[in-house]
């Protein structure tokens, strides 16, 4: 079977390493290119892809309906500047063809040629920007951004711009500590995973950056699966299995990957958490035979409580069925 694979497949963040999956602190250094069966991903921290304009428009649409997706507690004001500047530096360094940043002390000149934005402003001076710094840069990147403050030996979710949450809400979580925020994760499970994860994050030294992947299957290409907008997307997902035809199933079901980055900001000492959401249809995923086989093994085996938590209760049997038939055909060929 020879077929020309699309860029989306060749650069896809295929997440599975083993034939089974459990939550773990599966953290690795950021910015290191990871080879896959058919290509690679991860050479950069930020993801500026063909989806960029769609992500920016979608973020603007979500914000227009619900501005609680952006929150900065007052004490996070310096951290929000530190985070915004870090993101601008990173964008300019990783994608110089799209973004430029000139710095002279506190004077910053930012240019985003993809959106035709060109601003000069002063670091630390909100009045010199059309909107607060974290919102400003957040509206120009596809990544969700969370800033965590460190105090009392813990991390606190105290600021962010999150429009593409999968089943959670920044407005609900803001002000919570790291352990409480992860309270609902089931089986998470060898006891102490989040204690160790937090310890790890607390140990990050200035400029350190790491990443991990998370995955789930979902109907269609919704980026925003936030708690705040249940009414917008939940009905179509609830009725998805009733309405879907066999022939369109694999095109409409998608694997959703969250590329999560953890970066210790150097000046404010805050930990910046970035989530880049990538979507690939089950049909495209299965175009790589080893991916189809391993994904079948993983999805079949995942414990029910994890499936329920991920919101895959209804969809799992159908994914398993489709992949089983698909893999059987591969084996015949």
């Amino acid at each position: 079977m020879t077929e020309v694979l699309s860029d989306a497949i060749r650069t896809f963040t295929y997440p599975f390493i083993h034939d089974t999956y459990r939550y773990s602190t599966n953290v690795e250094k950021a910015g290191v290119e990871q080879k896959t069966e058919v290509g690679s991903w991860g050479g950069t921290i930020l993801n500026v892809t063909d989806e960029y304009h769609h992500e920016i428009a979608e973020r603007a649409r979500v914000m227009a309906r619900d501005d609680s997706r952006y929150a900065v507690l007052p004490h996070m004001y310096p951290a929000s500047w530190d985070g915004a500047r870090h993101l601008m530096r990173l964008a300019a360094q990783e994608f110089p063809e799209h973004f430029q940043l000139e710095e002279e002390g506190d004077s910053l000149h930012w240019h985003n040629s993809l959106l035709g934005i060109d601003d000069t402003f002063r670091y630390g001076d909100d009045a010199s920007l059309p909107m607060p710094p974290l919102e400003y840069i957040g509206r120009q990147l596809g990544e969700d951004i969370v800033l965590m403050d460190e105090r009392e030996g813990h991390l606190w979710v105290d600021a962010g711009l999150v429009t593409f949450a999968a089943g959670w809400s920044l407005a609900f979580n803001v002000g919570m500590d790291f352990q409480r925020m992860h309270g609902p994760v089931p089986r998470a499970v060898p006891e102490g995973v989040f204690v160790r994860a937090e310890q790890f994050l607390l140990r990050l030294q200035p400029g350190d950056d790491h990443r991990r992947l998370n995955w789930v299957f979902q109907p269609d290409r919704h980026l925003d699966l936030g708690m705040n907008s249940y009414p917008d997307w939940l009905p179509s997902i609830m009725s998805f299995m009733d309405d879907i035809g066999d022939d369109e199933f694999a095109d409409r079901v998608h694997i959703r990957i969250e590329i999560q980055h953890f970066i210790r900001l150097a000046e404010s000492n805050a930990v910046m958490f970035l989530i880049s959401t990538r979507l690939l249809s089950l049909r495209d995923l299965a175009r790589v035979p080893s991916w189809a086989r391993q994904t079948l093994s993983v999805v079949e085996e995942v414990p029910q409580d994890m499936v329920d938590y991920k919101g895959m209760t209804d969809i799992r049997p159908a994914i398993v069925k489709w992949l089983t038939e698909y893999v059987a055909r591969l084996d015949e060929e």
Binding site: D82, G124, E152, V195, P206, A266
Partner: protein, 312 residues
Amino acid sequence: MTSRQLRVSAIRDLPGRVRTVTLEPLDGKALPSFAPGSNIGLQWSDKLINSYSLVGDHSSPASYQISVLAQPEGSGGSLWVHNLQLGEVVTSTGVRSAFAPVAIAKHHVLVAAGIGVTPVLSHARWHARWGHSFDVYYVHRPGQGAHLDELQELCGDRLHTYASRTEFWAEFPQVLATQPFGTHIYTCGPLAMIDSVAQAAAEASWPEGRVHSEAFSSAALDAGKPFTAIFARSGRTVTVPSGASMLEAAEEIGIKAPYLCRQGLCGECRVSVIAGRVDHRDLVMGAAEKEDGNSMMVCVSRAADDLLEVDL
């Protein structure tokens, strides 16, 4: 951690046998920003690294500055710094943040004694920049106040100076009794000063979590009892004798462990504890963290009982 080559580009003598050394990057590129209270380690002999607080601009620094008190009776690091010549190249560790301001504080009380002024200066610079509410209480011998001029410029009437600890203590209990709710205290100086500020704060009913400190000399620790150490990742079990640290015991059998200061100050040698209770003797971890007992600094901390299993 990334080590870095830095060149001595300026030397300035301050009152009180303190010398400020400016270090610039060899490649001329901007250095990373740093959090107030951060330090860098300078390698001053084959195996020895001393940490010094950064006192200069922390937002977009073109160079790093350290201010070091000459201590002829010390182990030699401070005199090494004082002997550095213009143009000399030194090796530094990456920047470490170990004494950052608490962002949520409503007001910051900064207490500096002697050379303990260095991280306090950096905190004051930060608070002045972001318009935070703060006061600086600086104890120094008459005429020997390093960085006094800069502090005056940054703080104005928020700077309170004392020529002796007696003078300081005549006033400070009243300060402790009258701070707004949500104030945090940061003390930097000799251990005795830190202890007495912490004790006075406790007597004035301050919650422990609002009282912070960075020590400039660590009290000698006792040799401790022998105990059994299990290095789980390496699959080795050894006895740590009295007078030797768990870190030394690990190195003895060829286990590589991270470390810098070997004095319980820098936090580099933290490892996860798998089993056993820890007698924490470091100055890095907070009280709550020590109570959790999930990790320890193997350079100074020991088993509270007979056995300790760690992820090393």
